[in-house]
Amino acid sequence: MKRRSLKLIVSLILMIIVSCNEPETVVTDYVHSDGSVTRKIEMKSIEGDIKKRFNISDIQVPFDSTWSVRDSIEINKKGDTTWIKRAVKQFKNINEINLAYKTDSGANKGMLRQAGFRKRFKWFNTEFRFSERIDKQLSFGYPVKDFLNSEELLYFYSPESLKHDKETGPDSLKFRALADSVKHKTDLWSTKNIVSEWIGAFSNLTAGKAGKDMTRESLKKHEDEFIKIVEANDKKFDSLWSEGIILKKLIGEENALKYKTEADSALGSVTKYFLVSFKDYSVRIVMPGKLIGTNGFIDSSHVLLWPVKSDFFMTEPYEMWAESKITNKWAWIVSGLFLAFVLSGVIRRVIKKD
């Protein structure tokens, strides 16, 4: 069985993959009041042949031949060339988007993604809600909010450009300290997730066979001890694991010998989850009418922005949502006339009484 080092897994999770060779992708959804969506993909690359670089397997969201595509090259004043690919498609409704997600063969085909649209008539206004949701990857992981405070959470979910601006801005020292704190805490979060996921997978495999000391609950009680063992041995993890030394420390010599196969299988399934291929991108949403709520960031062109990274939906579903409203002017006029009618009737009665 192919095994991968835990250290490698952790490194891959924690690594911010900002490769110069990777095209930068922004997906923009223009949501219309009838529920249709115009989706635009914009991929930028600073090197390479655009036709070779922008294969379907490179694209982060579903893409096919029905999109209208435009390629262009931009050369700035310094002489730097940027290859840009723009693709646009009109979706009649979110069902079309969801169908495309189900049949996706692109870079992020392994992720369960879903779009949602809701339109609510509220007499004076009509409210709209659009969302994009990515399902969580791990079954036994911990929510990141258990490890980070509100300020750290905001930093964690921020776009890279905002992080960079803050770390080089007037309060750079404060934000660098914040970045270090977030990194330290998310390192711990990742290790705990790996251990928790392994416990979950291992206890599932040994269910019904092992004794009471091997149930998920009893193994969970020793989770912190497990983490300490893993952290203490992370440099030689591969060899120590294959020799069964770590497993002996975790579950005892007898159980380690008895359930070595299950332990290896559990580690294999954890590795599968953590090494899932995902290409980061950014999502932008343009809502109809006036924006009234969102969990995203507002960018300089007054469009909502969300970075999409695999860390964000590791242990919890990642939902990007926006709400807007359109004022129903006719309802305001009808209501005004009704109020005037009732008020004048009441006044007339009072006058006649006198």
């Binding site: 115009t38 507002i298 960018d299 922005l305």
Partner: protein
Amino acid sequence: MKPESEKFFEVLKLLRKSKPLLASTEDIESGVIKRITKTNYNGLSSSQIIDFLFGWVYIGWVRRTLITASIVLVMVFIYQQSIILKRIDVLSRQPVVISKESTLSPADEIEKLLIVYKNSGRIFPSKTITISEREMKELLESVNELQIKYRDLKKLIEEDPELKKMIEKKLMENNRTKINL
């Protein structure tokens, strides 16, 4: 002495015999009809209509229902607007990302509006456009025409490597700004 009833009938007889002399009975008749009609018309246009419209004021349960409905309407309005204002206030305090992820250029903004226009088949929101629909259609037609010409030109250049090389070189030499090939 004559009885009272006999006296009464004699007076009645005298009155019947002495009828007033009328010059034109037809004029009097038409005058009376006109006045009656006028009076009836005036009543229908003002007080009767108002009475009909506001008749509900004198029916207790209708009056109470309409007043309650008005109060509910006002309360719903205040509640909705206060919630919306509160949410907009929260949004306005959010930091704005001066973003590299943001790749919209002014040209893209126009493109965005064109896409919205083309796909929705509706006129732009009033705050974003001040030109007429006819002018907008002309603009769209021009853009489409330009795109066709651009594609033809692109095809022509791509089919001729020498021409492509020459154009690229020329453009690079002249100004290193934006080239679309």
